[in-house]
């Protein structure tokens, strides 16, 4: 259990999915069916499931990158469907980490980290200073001036994590963050997540199909055929006390 779970804010629901479904426009594919889920502030949650089970669709909906066909997502009690500015919401409240890093190849590590800060109010110098600090926090300050192509895959993912933390988000969403990494680099990334959760009380949602990765989380939610798997939900209780519904 993380120390964050013991905080006074630990029982607040940060993110809540309320009976959300996602049917793609042609109606042929129902990616997610009536999913309900609560994520508490400071929680470290892993969402597991096989390929095509709807994990990434769920992450996109939780991260306001997509909108549910039915149902609603609430962040801090506010419905995202009625949010006036989802771009600002993503910029200020969320950090994304992708499997393929998604760094911009022409920008150095320190410049990539600054990308989300453009929508904020920091000056160019302040952005640069903050980016260096973030790179220090992922132990990459010495590689600040390197292009993504000059970094190892593990280093690239750590730059991507620094970028995700650029605007001090309340929630970090990671989609298969170790999927493209060797075991050593993957361990580095997971250790970083552990540290963020333990030391900063960061709320983390990690999509993975790896049991090893999921075991680092405080709770595991299983998803299969677009539904939260009740059978596996029982298993998830062993990792924590937060219920998931469906």
């Amino acid at each position: 259990m993380s120390s964050a779970d013991g905080n006074s804010a630990a029982h607040e629901v940060l993110l809540r999915a309320d009976h959300i479904s996602r049917v793609y426009p042609d109606g042929a594919v129902t990616a997610l069916v009536d999913v309900s889920l609560e994520i508490r502030r400071g929680e470290y949650l892993a969402i597991m499931g096989p390929s095509g089970s709807g994990k990434s669709t769920l992450l996109n909906l939780l991260g306001a990158l997509d909108t549910p066909t039915s149902g609603e997502v609430f962040f801090d009690g506010q419905s995202l469907a009625r949010h006036p500015d989802l771009d600002r919401f993503r910029s200020e409240k969320l950090g994304f980490v992708f499997q393929s890093f998604n760094l911009l190849p022409t920008l150095t590590a320190v410049e990539n980290v600054q990308i989300p800060m453009f929508e904020g109010r920091l000056s160019a110098a302040e952005r640069a200073r903050k980016a260096v600090k973030l790179l220090e926090s992922v132990d990459l300050a010495r590689r600040a001036g390197h292009l993504p192509g000059q970094l190892s895959v593990g280093e690239r993912q750590r730059v991507a994590i620094a970028r995700a933390l650029a605007n001090d988000p309340a929630l970090l969403l990671a989609d298969e963050p170790t999927g493209n990494l060797d075991s050593h680099s993957g361990e580095d990334v997971l250790a970083l997540f552990d540290r963020l959760h333990r030391d900063q009380g960061m709320t983390l949602v990690v999509i993975t199909h790896s049991r090893e990765v999921a075991d680092r989380a405080g709770r595991i939610v299983w998803i299969r055929d677009g539904r939260i798997s009740t059978a596996d939900a029982a298993t998830s209780q062993s990792k924590g006390n937060v219920p998931c519904g469906s």
Binding site: N60, G63, L65, D66, D85, D87, R88, F89, R90, S91, E92, L94, F96, F98, N102, L104, P105, T106, L107, V110, E111, Q114, I115, P116, F118, E119, A124, R127, A128, R163, A164, A166, N167
Partner: protein
């Protein structure tokens, strides 16, 4: 990192394509700047001929768009001189000849009386001025003399007759430097226009107080039906060759500019399409659509600004080059009006906006989740 740095890096990343787009825009701007610049310079130089000599009104047969076709009786000059407020009236003939063996196709021939003040504006480089009553003598502008390879004492064939060059002069005006001067009465005979002139220039008497040019104009037009007295600016604006030069330059320039804009559009569409996944990342990390639009517009404007700089420099260089070519040296002035360069920049930025509007709009239609799936 500045936002501009980010934009610059995006362009540098596809440097060959960026460079080719800049070259395309530069060619369009160079064509526009040089063609329009020559046309505007043509007009200004023409105007300078009259303004430099203090001409207030140009009198010619009404309904004629150029002096060459106009024909007025010399005696009209005396009637105008008698009007109050008139300081000087000069009548003359303007004709055009060509020297095919030298590739000179539009050489002005001026017929002036030996005693007109116009000679005072010429700087004699060699020889002497034309004298009243002499026949078979011409003066050459310095550019024409150089292009023909003629000097004082040489013979020149004009209107099927031999003329002896008695003087070579330099004028403040490029057209005069490319012209030949004969005595008026001799040119009248050669062109079969006895006692006729193609037009008069009138200088108002400013020493006698306020000049009412409009009133003077009316008085002159009342002297004889079918004549018009136009202020110099109005006269120049109605000269057929100038109107044609202006229209031709704009038509040609517009075609070049449209092609340039299509090049920018093509580049920006490809650029945005290829980077839709990156746009998805930018949107995912919170960039608003308007910032993505600013990025696309910024890249396009930076490309066209580069094209404008290169194109303007090339336009000036092209004009200078043609001002030194024998065929065009008597027509093309070696300088471009700053207004034309400013117009070139404005047009380039317009091209940048026109070429970026659709790709920018398209980028805002991209949903982050779909853009992120792009390969």
């Amino acid at each position: 990192m500045w936002f501009l740095t980010f934009i610059g890096k995006n362009l540098w990343r596809r440097r060959t394509r960026s460079l080719l787009t800049i070259v395309g825009v530069a060619l369009a701007i160079a064509a526009a700047v040089s063609l329009v610049g020559v046309a505007v310079g043509f007009e200004r130089t023409y105007l300078d001929i009259y303004r430099g000599r203090g001409v207030d009104l140009v009198v010619q047969r009404s309904g004629r768009s150029e002096q060459l076709n106009s024909g007025l009786d010399e005696s009209l000059g005396d009637s105008m001189r008698a009007l109050p407020g008139v300081k000087e009236v000069i009548g003359g003939i303007v004709d055009v000849v060509s020297f095919e063996q030298h590739d000179l196709w539009y050489v002005l021939v001026n017929g002036w009386a030996a005693d007109v003040r116009l000679f005072e504006d010429l700087k004699l480089l060699s020889g002497r001025q034309l004298r009243a009553g002499e026949r078979g003598k011409v003066m050459l502008g310095k550019v024409l003399a150089a292009n023909l390879g003629k000097g004082v004492g040489d013979t020149l064939e004009l209107f099927g007759q031999d003329f002896k060059v008695v003087g070579v002069y330099e004028s403040f005006n490029v057209y005069d430097n490319g012209a030949v001067i004969l005595l008026l009465d001799e040119l009248q005979t050669l062109t079969d226009r006895p006692h006729q002139v193609t037009g008069f220039t009138v200088q108002a008497d400013r020493e006698s107080g306020n000049v009412d040019l409009e009133r003077l104009r009316k008085q002159i037009e009342d002297l004889q039906p079918g004549i018009s007295a136009l202020p110099t600016t109005e006269f120049i604006a109605n000269v057929n060759q100038i109107k044609m030069a202006r229209a031709t330059s704009w038509v040609t320039s517009t075609i070049a500019l449209v092609l340039g804009a299509i090049g920018v559009l093509n580049t920006m569409i490809m650029s945005v399409y290829e980077r839709r996944r990156e746009i998805g990342i930018l949107r995912a990390v919170g960039w608003r659509p308007r910032r993505v639009v600013r990025m696309v517009l910024g890249e396009s404007l930076l490309l066209t600004l580069g094209g404008a700089v290169v194109g303007s420099l090339a336009g000036v260089a092209i004009t200078r080059f043609f001002s030194h070519l024998p065929v065009t040296s008597g027509i093309v002035q070696g300088s471009i009006d700053p207004d034309v360069i400013a117009q070139g920049f404005a047009i380039a930025l317009g091209m940048g906006l026109a070429g970026a509007v659709y790709p920018a709009y398209w980028s805002t239609r991209l949903r982050p989740v779909e853009a992120l799936r792009a390969k």
